[in-house]
């Protein structure tokens, strides 16, 4: 589904296969340049992107469920959030691990930057860093703006 979606949206941009760059030769596994480009676009397509097992409505793993619950508690607006179900695409499941250099699912990206997996998400949620990050990246409105709606906008 994932790759099909990309074909649909990005097919005009697909380029002919080229020789891999030199760094490719020392990669431990082999993710294609095309897959890498697609994943770069995917993580930058929406402010908050989660690669997970299952869907937000029906997570298929406790770690993915925890990640979804945390993002819900943080109040990440649906229009700024997108999830990819790695169980629907075995290629994506292996590619994303190499792309992020991260061995487990779920994986969270904010504004195209890898944040971490479930453990990191949970600890950042508990110590307030996640809220701070989401505010800084413009995913959530800053607290001051909510607390003082009457103050002049900056």
């Amino acid at each position: 589904m994932f790759r099909t979606a990309f074909r649909a949206s990005f097919s005009p941009l697909r380029v002919a296969p080229v020789l891999p760059p030199r760094s490719f030769a020392i990669a431990r596994r082999f993710i294609t340049d095309e897959a890498r480009q697609n994943l770069s676009r995917a993580v930058e397509s929406t402010p908050v992107v989660l690669f997970m097992k299952g869907t937000p409505e029906q997570p298929q793993c406790g770690f993915s469920r925890a990640a979804i619950q945390i993002l819900e508690m943080q109040g990440v607006p649906p229009e700024k959030f997108k999830s990819f179900n790695v169980l629907e695409d075995t290629q994506l499941r292996s590619d994303i691990k190499e792309f992020s250099d991260w061995p487990t699912i779920p994986q969270l990206y904010v504004n195209g930057e890898f944040v971490g997996g479930c453990d990191i998400l949970l600890s950042m949620h508990q110590n307030g860093e996640l809220e701070k990050l989401l505010e800084e990246k413009g995913v959530l409105p800053p607290l001051e703006a909510e607390a003082q709606p009457q103050s002049a906008s900056a």
Partner: protein, 89 residues
């Protein structure tokens, strides 16, 4: 099946470890582990960097697991963690 001892030696040979807990959460199949590592080597490193470091150390083993969870704390953070948990209990 991955042995607890294998994970332990991989971590201990790489960094000085003040405290280490390796919990087999798999009910016997040996494919689901949670580790708590306390090391001064984590001082000044971000959580993401610490996790990446441990992931790299255990790369081959994690690849064979269903689930892997970690906490990577400095000795100071571990004291805070203990104090917090004692308070909560």
């Amino acid at each position: 099946m991955i042995a607890t001892a294998e994970l332990e030696s991989a971590i201990r040979t790489a960094i000085p470890v003040q405290h280490l807990e390796i919990i087999d959460q798999s009910n016997g199949c040996g494919e689901n582990y949670a580790v708590l590592v306390v090391s001064e080597a984590f001082e000044g490193k971000t959580t993401l960097a610490r996790h990446r470091y441990i992931n790299e150390l255990l790369r081959d083993q994690i690849a064979l697991m269903h689930a892997f969870s970690q906490k990577s704390l400095t000795p100071k953070q571990y004291q805070e963690y203990l104090a917090k948990n004692a308070g909560a209990a």
